[in-house]
Amino acid sequence: MTNRQQQTPGIDFAVLTLKDALDLAVLIEEEARDRYEELAAQLVLHRTPGAAAFFAKMVRIEELHRKQLLEERAKAFGEQPVAVRREMIFDVEAPDYDEVRSDMTTREALETALRSEEKAHRFFVSVLSHVQNPEVRKLFEELRDEEVEHQDLVKKELAKLPDDDRFARVDVGDGPAPQ
């Protein structure tokens, strides 16, 4: 099964219109935003503040992207109804649930984000081979390239991290508590 089928069941990229493509892009950002929000909350609840703070930052970034795309969509298509459903999108740019761990380091959190941007990049590369509408193609190429920019940003952040993350808290903290 290809990524495309697995991540966006029910969407036929060969006939995708620009409106639907924009809506899809908005929802991909929305899914990522919500996922980062969920993961940040999980990590707050599990006393992993560094990673949680980074994911909270990702929430803001994804929201920014979503808004930009939303504006673009509004400009081009106004109030026309949305045909793409959020339920059609599975983990395109959103990190998988099993990316996170209690007591994960900030570095690991950044690496998670990096993998997610790479995943999104692979998605756009994969779907572009099916897209026929030139406007959609242009949009997806832009989005694909943005994923590369995002990766670079994360990589820069990673480089800035102090190297005090070598020891994992999971190795020094209390074990799990019975419920």
């Binding site: 099964m1 089928q5 697995q6 991540q7 069941p9 919500d34 969920e38 993961l39 909350a41 999980q42 990590l43 609840l45 599990h46 992993t48 109804p81 949305v82 045909a83 793409v84 459903r85 959020r86 339920e87 599975f90 983990d91 998988d96 649930y97 099993d98 990316e99 996170v100 761990r101 209690s102 994960m104 074990g175 799990p176 508590a177 019975p178 419920q179």
Partner: protein, 290 residues
Amino acid sequence: MNAPVFQAKDYKSELKPIWCPGCGDFGVLQGLYRALSSIGRPPHEVAFISGIGCSSRIPGYTTAYGFNTVHGRSLPIAQGVKLANPELLVVVAGGDGDGFSIGGGHVPHAVRRNMDLTYLVMDNQVYGLTKGQLSPTSPRGLETVTSPFGSLEEPINPLLYMLAYGAGFVAQATPADMPGMTALIEEAIRYPGFAFVNIQSPCVTFGEDDQQLKAHKAKQKSLASLGHDPSNQLAALDLARAYGTELYTGVFYRNPSPPPTYESLVKLRQTEQAKKARPRNQILDAYLQK
């Protein structure tokens, strides 16, 4: 395409799951929201019934009616709910210990009564809530705090059990394949009768490394890709024997002609008997000795 009346987020409650980050149940929950949204029943017409265990916390994370009951008893309690109000969409959720160990005695009876219930078992082969003891689906030889030298027992095979008991819908899924799992949950809920989905939902804290979602991604084989015909019960039984070695996902068996549900027969009986009802103040007259 029309926007659904209820979106996945409409089924999500404000309560934050307390599962460990990385737990398979997060994906199951997300898949469940989406499946419910596709089905489109309003949350107040849905009832989630669970027992005790990490996965049994699911009802609280939905905006539907929930009943987080006692260990092992979700199936009988769910049957009472369904019979009391057959219009409800009733989903039973729990873990392998809840369903196949302490509650194991209820399973065949829930299956043979064939009420329109969906039973989702989040199978992680370990007791997570009590910190990593053997579960009924733990593989032989597994070392845990209650089997420091390795388990001496064969695990239960939930798929074979369900098929042998005669369940009309038996499937297996993993949250490593979100769209596949979501579609299976939806199909199970839509099946008009007792439907079972064994969801391999790894325990990130006490589970084995080769049981984590990353391993699932590499390991899973869809039954469809093997050319399995889900109406073939014998082929299903044969494939189900591979539980514990292969990770098959998809529908093992789906009864092509589902028999009437228990509650539909109840309705018939009620209708046929209703004409014999006495007014409340004459109920005792039945005992008058003429």
